[in-house]
Amino acid sequence: MSVANAAPEVAGLDTFPRLLLHHGRTQGARPATREKDLGIWQTWNWSQVANEVRALACGLAELGFRRGDNLAVIGDNRPRLYWAMAAAQCLGGVAVPLYQDAVAAEMAFVLQDAEIGFAIVEDQEQVDKMLEIKSQCPALGHILYDDPRGLRHYTQAGLQSLEEVMAMGRSHDHNQPEFIDGEISRGEPGDIAVMLYTSGTTGKPKGVCQTHSSFITAAKSGCEFDRLGPADSILSYLPMAWVGDHLFSYAQAMVAGFTINCPESGDTVMTDLREIGPTYYFAPPRVFENLLTTVMIRMEDAGRIKRRMFDYFMAVARRCGAEVLDGRPGVAAIDRFLYAAGDLLVYGPLRNVLGMSRIRVAYTAGAAIGPDLFRFYRSIGVNLKQLYGSTETCAAVCLQPDGEIKFDSVGKPAPGVEVRIAENGEVLVKGKMLLKEYYKRPADTAEAIDAEGYFHTGDAGFFDEDGHLKIIDRAKDVGKTAGGAMFAPNYIENKLKFFSFIKEAVAFGHGREMVCAFINIDMGAVGNWAERRSISYSGYTDLAQKKPVYELIRECIEKANAELAQDPMLCPSQVHRFLILHKELDPDDDELTRTRKVRRAFVAEKYAVLIEALYSDNDSQFIETQVKFEDGRSGMVSADLAIMDARVFPAQAQRKAA
């Protein structure tokens, strides 16, 4: 497939509208967009899509949309919303997709910030939000909707259905066909194509301006990297405002000319995935985890023969599946035979149920993925890989090449991307896919892009001995131990949290001789484990202080230490001593944020006496803490906490791939 599937190189295809027209001419009959509507997959081919986009663009022009205007696009993944982005770009405008599940007040900020005059929205729900905030956004003159359901009685000025606008556009295009071609030919690759707003976890959202050239460059390098072409297809189900969806479902689809498939609704994604069987797939780790849980639960309910077959062949897959997928030598003939049998009996049907039968390349990103989870998918023959990027870099900084997969790295820099590690460990990136600027925020732009043209990602990382980038933490959290070695608390904590017995961990080590940690056990997993061993306990505090539980956690920590020791950079970060906290860290007690991130400084202050004990020779420490109960009352919890040493390992240069 790879040779025939390669996208042809044609000069002058430097903006998205030109790419679209090109596909309309050269592969007009091939499917471009599919949507499941009324239970049936409807298909538009490239020439139809090109015509629809022309009609939409002409209609927008008729309503007064001009070069440089911003067009808000709000809704679930719908073909017409993707086309709306292309239509705006035809006219030299900028598409501004918004998160469709945001409440009206949040949208108001973006609409004001981007001075939105035109919004194309999916349905009544979004129209209602627009009308609600219209008074705060005086510029918003036109609200165009895709699905007219429930909108029959709306008579507000400026409200129109996309259908009408496109009909208007069609007659306009018919009368002056040269108009839209003229507009498209005036487009420059350096024009801003799309503006994606950052999530705004740190302050107000910022509009990231990306040019045609940057997204096309990013998409092209991705397509070449994984040999994507017109024969591929993808399920477009992630929010359109997210850079990943824009890259995969819009930019790469336009560059490579492959098919995008819009699911029927958010609830039907799993069924739709199975029906479409995409060849290219993206999902955050959470989705992969949910899928695996579903499979495991259903296997528990399966008959005994099936269950034994599943267990047996999953053991085979764990042993050699990843190696077989990577085509690495050194797999015993018997294992190859067993794997082939397993593929026929278990892995193949399982991939089919998951909708992954045809997947050539699957990516995950956005959060750390557990090694077991990652290995599971690879071992059943799904080519799952990781990538690294951000809104500012078109989500295309690093990718894992086929056959060089590690669960804890994000791969090698993409073609044409230069990655450098700053003095303080921060990852700096340079390349054509960088943002042009933050919208109307020159100070932020100057802060993010330095004089040499490097973008400061805010992430800390380093290159391992194979040249793979490892992202370890947010740069501002990274410290140094007293010995001068780098200390990345988040990285260590994530490693610990991958163990099902550990729910939460807090690592200390900045300015200290060694790294120590607080542990919260996972009540469900450890409780279950204790019950199977007939260890009786009364509650969390009691269970946490049981000797066998300490031993269990120590084993986990030593496993993590052994892994850390394999990396010379991280070897000094091994956890020397730990204790299990007498209470679970809780947002009600301000120890965690509402999104369950540890408030490091607060915890360090609250439990200062425990930290001191960790760095002393004591093997236990008394603590009394105030806790808030769910009904708002507060009480005291006290315990004598044991402190335990964990074995640490000498640095070693031994290599082990995932």
Binding site: L38, G39, I40, D267, T268, T271
Partner: protein, 260 residues
């Protein structure tokens, strides 16, 4: 929002129904106008369900006259009533539990199907075309009620609230002129109730279906109905807009009890 409520489509005068010595309904008279949402409320045993059963021909009143679309209706059975454009849902869900949502909704198309058994069995020619047309209609209803994700799920596996929605879907599949809903919100949680209200209003608004509903939840009734008729011990004690009914002393007495 201006609603176009039309002429009287269905009217009752002097309806009396008794089972042996029990008078279920005594000289009831009211009417239903086209495109309106008409609620029948009342305490337990007031005769609400009996009234609904009279409308769709399950019970035949001993006395009184029913006029449907200008024609007096006498002794009409359930089949004829369904055929004339009256569909209903039930207080206790009456779906085919082992069949999928889609199949259940397709059964609602039964009365509209024309082709014969043999052609259907062969799935040939007109039968095939007809099946496709009916399936399209069923899919429109699935889309309307937002139940795409459970299209192929057996109804028995669904939570109660969704089953109620499927039942509404099956009634809609008959493309009725009048839709009778027997306690559509009974046993639902707040969120399910809100969803159901929205669907009832959407059906009324977009399909123009006239709706007669029985409901216990007063909040719901007062919010969504155009006119309300109140029954107590088989007698009509009030009839009017929600505000009028709310202010009626007899209604307050019937619901809150009265000191004798």
């Amino acid at each position: 929002m201006t609603k176009r409520i039309g002429e009287v489509i269905l009217s009752f005068t002097n309806i009396s129904l008794s089972f042996g010595g029990v008078n279920a309904l005594t000289r009831i008279g009211f009417d239903v106008k086209e495109h309106e949402i008409r609620a029948i409320i009342g305490p337990n045993g007031a005769g609400k369900s009996s009234m609904l059963n009279v409308i769709n021909g399950v019970y035949h009143p001993q006395q009184g006259e029913i006029v449907f679309r200008g024609k007096a209706r006498r002794g009409m059975n359930t089949y004829e009533s369904a055929k004339s454009g009256i569909a209903r849902t039930f207080q206790n869900i009456a779906l085919f539990k082992g069949m999928s949502v889609l199949d259940n909704i397709m059964t609602g198309r039964n009365l509209k199907m024309r082709s014969n058994f043999l052609l259907d069995a062969l799935y040939w020619g007109p039968a095939q075309r007809e099946e496709i047309a009916h399936r399209k209609k069923a899919e429109e209803i699935i889309d309307f009620l937002e139940i795409q994700h459970i299209r192929k799920t057996p109804v028995g596996r669904l939570p109660y609230g969704l089953q109620k929605r499927v039942e509404l879907g099956r009634a809609l599949a008959a493309e009725p002129a009048i839709l009778l809903l027997d306690e559509p919100m009974a046993g639902m949680n707040v969120e399910e109730k809100q969803d159901m209200c929205r669907f009832i209003l959407d059906v009324n608004d977009q399909l123009g279906t006239t709706i007669v509903l029985i409901e216990h939840d007063m909040g719901v009734v007062m919010d969504i109905s155009d006119r309300v008729v109140v029954l107590d011990y088989g007698k009509k004690i009030a009839d009017g807009t929600p505000d009028e009914v709310r202010a009626n002393q007899d209604v307050i007495d019937a619901y809150l009890g009265v000191a004798h």
